[in-house]
Point group: C2
Chain length 334, copies 2
């Protein structure tokens, strides 16, 4: 019996889910938590608002492609966006370690500011705590965000139908491997670069196609495998993805081969997984591809009839079941 | 020149304010941050909403009168309440240290749940991160909250007029000294007990008196001295408080005398400082005193004409200036 917190409890895999199912949901059960969406739907005075939070403990603070500052903004922006809203307001909570160079703090705050302005949102409230040397690792951030619901979306895995198309907006796993390479000091000349970026423009671009979208999520901790397994968990449908269609950056694929890591389990921070009615897929790709963050968008598979199963059709025509990750493949990547 | 983060940067005193003025405001300037309120005012679709966040790093996690869990709920509830709103929704972000006993986590979550239900609000979204042993001290929490503005309030230090009354809802400094006693293992038989509690009922009780209320704040980090100094900073008015009127619990007063700590600088977590038009003070006290959290409410002084000065009239009739604290008197009390 597990009686202590393990790293795996924070990994976005099965142990994370058990913690949530056994410790969080029984205490805080409410309509907003049903289905554990990335953001809660609030309904003050008839206005639909979305509300989400994330803490960030990434190590190192700076990595190829970004830093904890933009990650903290885009992470919450993306949770709000995939819930079908336009992100508007952000809070910023900082826990700083005594001795942290002010120059580092300034670089991170610059990144927060730039990221917020790229998303056209305002940091409107915040808080700073300082703990003694050795009581946190440089700095931890928290952001909470509020978005305004976009019209037309009715998202949820209960809307999935066999034949629905599964799309991704770009390459998978770049963030996780970029952080790994930075942390291990691999010093690769052309190593992986994090894809940390906002996804709200991809969601806004859907416009009047919204009613045909069934499901959106960004594959962060636990990667694509975690998102798809959660999506079909306890459902009458499953999902089938084709290995040859999965988009990977060359540097990320190379490092994955070197390290033996399964990229289906590695986090992205700027990739959108979307499921839609089959006839909508071409129109969505047409809207996404002109945007830099959607340039490599593609269909990777479809909803299938095998209840609750995520199946990969391999490049040589075989089939294997893609399990949800058990726990933390790469700790502290976000 | 200071080029590193010091504990004092998180203390709610002058160094905290310098950090905010020099590093935060220049980057994130927006209407919501003007005057650095406890909560930001948002205005989606004509609906006034308040938004606030706080991180909690209190050590030890449990102390006489409460724990990090209720503190995290009441802290944000109180920031929303003193901004003139009814707290409605809460997010909960947890950073857990590998090895934390699940039994501890459960006690804290129970406290969060109980505290939320006492305030009639819902925890609607959350996030859990786990860091390695030694990378955080047990657990850190963050809450962000959304409240709905109550009618009639127009709060701000610019509304202060000489003669306005300064009220507190109860004894000062209980929280800071309760945590200190627990942390130092003083083992006092009848030591200080934290006043951690929600203040929203005191605010709701104001009802139609709201327009006569000029200013509300809860004296947390930096204590009453910090709140009053902030209130009159760069203002044409000052404030005069009378030592003999200040309410203190006997155990807190005794420990303060023993340790030499100035209770004006020690945090409360369940006390409301309110400034109102003089004729309103008796009516407010009449509404507050039937509530347990307002039973010891009293007038402690009034707004005076000495620009920007906080003056204490001592019990023997002398006068001294009460400075804002420089930094962290008691680190990690919230």
């Amino acid at each position: 019996m597990i009686d202590r917190i393990l790293l795996d409890h924070g990994g976005g895999g099965r142990l994370s889910h058990r913690l949530i199912r056994e410790e969080i949901l029984p205490r805080f059960a409410c309509a907003a938590l049903n289905g554990l969406p990335d953001a809660a739907t609030l309904d003050p005075g008839g206005l639909r608002m979305l509300f989400s939070t994330d803490s960030f403990v990434v190590q190192p603070l700076f990595f190829p492609g970004g830093c904890i500052g933009d990650l903290a903004v885009f992470g919450t922006v993306n949770d709000l966006a995939v819930a079908g809203s336009r992100p508007r307001w952000l809070s910023l909570g900082m826990i700083l370690e005594e001795g942290l160079p002010l120059a580092i703090l300034r670089r991170v705050l610059d990144a927060v500011q730039l990221a917020a302005s790229r998303c056209d949102l305002q940091v409107v409230t915040g808080d700073t705590k300082v703990v003694r040397r050795g009581q946190c690792d440089g700095m931890y951030l928290n952001t909470a965000g509020i978005g305004q619901a976009l019209p037309g979306f009715a998202l949820g895995p209960e809307r999935l139908r066999p034949g629905d198309r599964v799309l991704v907006s770009g390459p998978l796993g770049d963030h996780g491997l970029a952080v790994l390479a930075a942390r291990e000091g691999l010093g690769l000349a052309n190593g992986p670069v994090s894809d940390t970026r906002p996804l709200h423009r991809l969601v806004l671009a859907l416009g009047e196609l919204a009613p045909g979208v069934r499901f959106m999520r960004d594959p962060t901790r636990g990667g694509l495998a975690a998102v798809l397994n959660e999506m079909v968990e306890e459902r009458a449908v499953g999902v089938m993805i084709e290995e040859r269609r999965l988009p990977f950056s060359p540097a990320t694929r190379a490092l994955a081969e070197l390290t033996g890591l399964d990229l289906l389990h590695v986090a992205s921070e700027g990739c959108l997984v979307l499921v839609c009615a089959p006839e909508l897929a071409p129109a969505i790709l047409e809207r996404w591809r002109p945007l830099p963050e959607g340039a490599q968008a593609c269909v990777i598979g479809q909803v299938a009839e095998d209840a609750s199963l995520v199946v990969l059709e391999t490049a040589i025509g075989g089939r294997r079941v893609v399990d949800a990750p058990q726990g933390e493949l790469l700790p502290r990547i976000c």
